[in-house]
């Protein structure tokens, strides 16, 4: 039997992470060989945590090598647990404390202008993700994690869901492609994930499978919170099935498109203009609207070109999308700025909403603005615009009282 396992990252450029090597021995007690950049300030607490984890898994004899580059407890614990579980079978999970902030639930139609991708095995990028105020953070278990690191990443992602403060962002996880992704669910469903992204989704079947497994874990752990799904369409087949996917279950809150894979699938290249994906994007928007959920656009990958990003967002908004992914925190502000309603739109929406309220107060069945009649969908859209304007800081909450 192999009795040595390792997890984590090491090297001179590694920050906020650690590398752990564990060897389980038949005798000799616990021997911790720790080198840490933060030894002077956290040496004792690191050793204490290592002992606690070993104790929890009833390991009495082991040699542990740790190269620490300022890993926080949730990282160290994840790395430790990954090495332990590579060596022994255990049903127990060593869970780090759950932050009260991370227990918040999100509504199905919460704003999802921006969602920031975070590689699931890179703790450093997780720590400060929330301070840039994306609407959602995506802890990614799929493409950004190397195949041989996926196992250790699932512990890190699980602990991050509990213990990293994302400052109000919706906690999303992109699982692996179905069926492999079904196995990721046991790490995240019991640990306060808000939203699950299903990559390379091609049929309503994928959604059903995911929901079946989610329900099992929910029942096992007595979880009642809503867990939303965002299937990502990344193939020609997925595009053709967009509506059935969007409509597959009540907890599908949004449907997204992933253009890198899609353009490869249809045998073309992705361009900044995006003419090659016009059909697919429109299909996704249409499918989402027909199902009453949010259409979400692909990421824009040139992180240095903010002007091109702004154009891309404007185009996306014009096509009918409600949000898009981002791969760099500096993209968030540009995305919010450009998805947010314009001054003109807000002014018009204000007039419509006021007219509607006046009509309501007077008990009138018909709303009119000037000489024009206003249909109920127009009122609804105006209300949504107002909500977005408040959310994006473009309008004060008490706008009605201030006129």
């Amino acid at each position: 039997m192999n009795n040595t396992a390792c997890a984590g990252n090491r090297g001179k450029d590694i920050r906020s992470d650690c590398y752990v090597e564990l060897e389980i021995l038949p005798s000799g007690g616990i021997d911790i060989n720790l080198t840490s950049k933060v030894e002077a300030l956290y040496g004792k607490s690191i050793r204490k945590l290592v002992n606690k984890v070993l104790d929890y898994f009833e390991i009495q004899h082991a040699k542990i090598l740790i190269e620490d580059a300022g890993a926080l407890d949730f990282v160290l614990a994840a790395r430790m647990e990954a090495t332990v579980k590579k060596l022994i079978e255990s049903d127990k999970d060593y869970l780090t404390p759950i932050l009260p902030e991370n227990k918040r639930d999100f509504a199905k139609d919460s704003f999802r202008f921006s969602r920031l991708y975070l590689p699931g095995n890179s703790p450093k990028l997780m720590l400060n993700a929330g301070i840039h105020h994306p609407d959602g953070v995506i802890l990614d278990l799929e493409d950004s994690v190397a195949p041989d690191r996926k196992y250790e990443a699932s512990f890190l992602v699980r602990n991050a869901l509990r213990s990293v403060n994302f400052y109000g962002a919706e906690k999303m996880v992109r699982i692996n492609q179905i069926p492999k992704g079904l196995d990721d669910l046991r790490f995240i469903v019991p640990n306060h994930v808000d939203h699950i992204l299903i990559p390379k989704c091609e049929s309503a079947e994928d959604i059903k499978w995911v929901n079946e497994v989610i329900d099992v874990h929910k029942k096992d752990h007595g979880i009642e919170k809503p867990i939303w799904l965002m299937p990502i369409i990344e193939s020609a087949k997925g595009v053709m099935n967009a509506y059935e996917i969007a409509n597959a279950a009540e907890n599908v809150a949004a449907i997204a498109i992933g253009l890198e894979d899609y353009t490869a699938d249809i045998g073309t290249m992705r361009t900044n203009e995006g003419t090659e994906s016009f059909f697919a994007r429109s299909m996704v928007v249409n499918a989402a609207r027909a199902a009453g959920i949010q259409p979400i656009d692909s990421v824009f990958s040139d992180v240095s070109d903010m002007e091109a990003l702004a154009k891309n967002v404007q185009q996306s908004k014009a096509l009918g999308f409600d949000g898009m992914g981002c791969i760099h925190p500096r993209q968030i502000e540009v995305i919010h700025e450009n998805f947010a309603p314009e001054e003109k739109e807000i002014e018009k929406a204000k007039k419509i909403v006021i007219a509607f309220k006046e009509a309501e107060a007077k008990g009138l069945g018909v709303v009119s603005l000037g000489s024009k009649m206003i249909d109920p969908p127009v009122v609804k859209r105006a209300e949504k615009t107002i909500k977005m304007a408040i959310e994006t800081g473009k309008l004060d909450k008490s706008w009605t009282s201030s006129g």
């Binding site: 933060v38 030894e39 002077a40 407890d73 301070i131 403060n165």
Partner: protein, 520 residues
Amino acid sequence: MDKYSNLTKNAAGRTVPTIINGGEHIPFQGVGKYKPTGRKFGPKISSCADYPDDGNKTVENLKAALINSGLKDGMTISTHHHFRNGDLIANQIFDIANELGVKDLRWYPSASFPCQEGLIKYLEDGTINRIEGSMNGPLGRFTSQGKMKGMSILRSHGGRYQAVQDGEVQIDIAVIAAPTSDPFGNANGVDGPAACGLLGFALADSQYADKVIVVTDNLVPFPCIPWQIHGNYVDYVVKVDKVGLPERIISGTTQITKSPDRLLIAEITSKFCEAAGIIYDGFSYQAGAGGTSLSIGNYFGEILRKNKWKARFVRAGSNKYPVEMLEGGLIDYILDGQTFDLDGVRSMRENPNHVNTSPFTSYNYHGKGNFASMIDVVILGATEVDVNFNANVVTHSDGYMLHGIGGWQNCLFSKCTILPIPLFRDRIPVIREEVTTLVGPGELIDVIVTERGLAINPLRQDLIEKTKNSGLPIKTIGQLKDEAEAICGKPENIVLDDELVAAIKWVDGTVIDAVRKVPT
């Protein structure tokens, strides 16, 4: 001789020695409290009868110049750091001293750099007794481990000038590496193949040292114009093949940061300045050459452009970013203490509005005022800040001395001092219960800006009032500390040796703190 003795508690509550390396030193008494009387130190009288009438002071090499200057045991040798990590001369001086069997020298650099790591062997064999100057990198580590024979004394740039004027440090031989000089010793930093900008840090040395040696690789016929160093102070001129590596003056980060977290800190800082009304038509600022500071300068530029305003002057550390603002008409003048890249050097050479300055004009405590206190806002760094806004820039939280003071202490006298710093660095919280080493008293530090919010010193009710409705994430310093500890865990108390290895001077020459040995 003991390294130090007579420990006492100074006005900041820090235990400091009053006898250091055999000399008497005054404990810190409070900001602006210590004002010595009497007359400044006078350099030795020289007579031009002793110097060649034809003005040719060249000697064959540095060794000859040092021998002619009477190099002997126990002397104080000074150098400047305008070449930063591209200095080639300091190492040569001590190679020669070692070859001549000279011992117990005191090195008085305006700062030391990793390129001088080779001097550790001379600190070990007794050629050099101690370094009194800002220490970076390996020399700081060596000193922290208690391996230096004498006790180190760290001073700010202004404090270095003050120590010379007080006669506390009497320089025997000043060696001034100069990119251009004439045989009379008139020298400048803007011309020549190794142009490094200016020579302001060597000004006091030239005026007060017993002997002054100018070393250059670009010897021009008299007169060398402009002369930043007056040949009338110079004893010997030495021509060498290469005086320094100007490409290495670009040390540290001199690019605008790409880190989203640091950009956020920079953005909050500039928004704060805008909300507090610190930025106006004709304002002035000083920002360092670090990535965050440079990006704050960039944001200031945007605010100026938006309002069609100009800054009257910028104090620098210049590099291409303030130079672009000067050339783009956003700044009237750059008052520059050291250039950080070759764009800075070029601008200083070509643009009369890019002016070279010295610690005398900018920082000196014994001047009749100085520029530092006239600046509207200064952006500085720190390794640690405590809940009373006291800051540390010399030691890390593990006790190691890894940075110099530079002009940092002097700059605290600006109208508003802002420290934009991350709340924690690789798990180490920056805001502590008490700083490991006190370098700047909290009463002079106005605002701490982190990526998770900013704290305003309660002494600055005016700033608190002006920004209370700004929508900025304003917190108390205690809240920031708690927030960092919630993320990183509460740091353990570090264990340091009782032995002291270095004294930290305040701008007025008093001892504000002492650095303890790190156990090895």
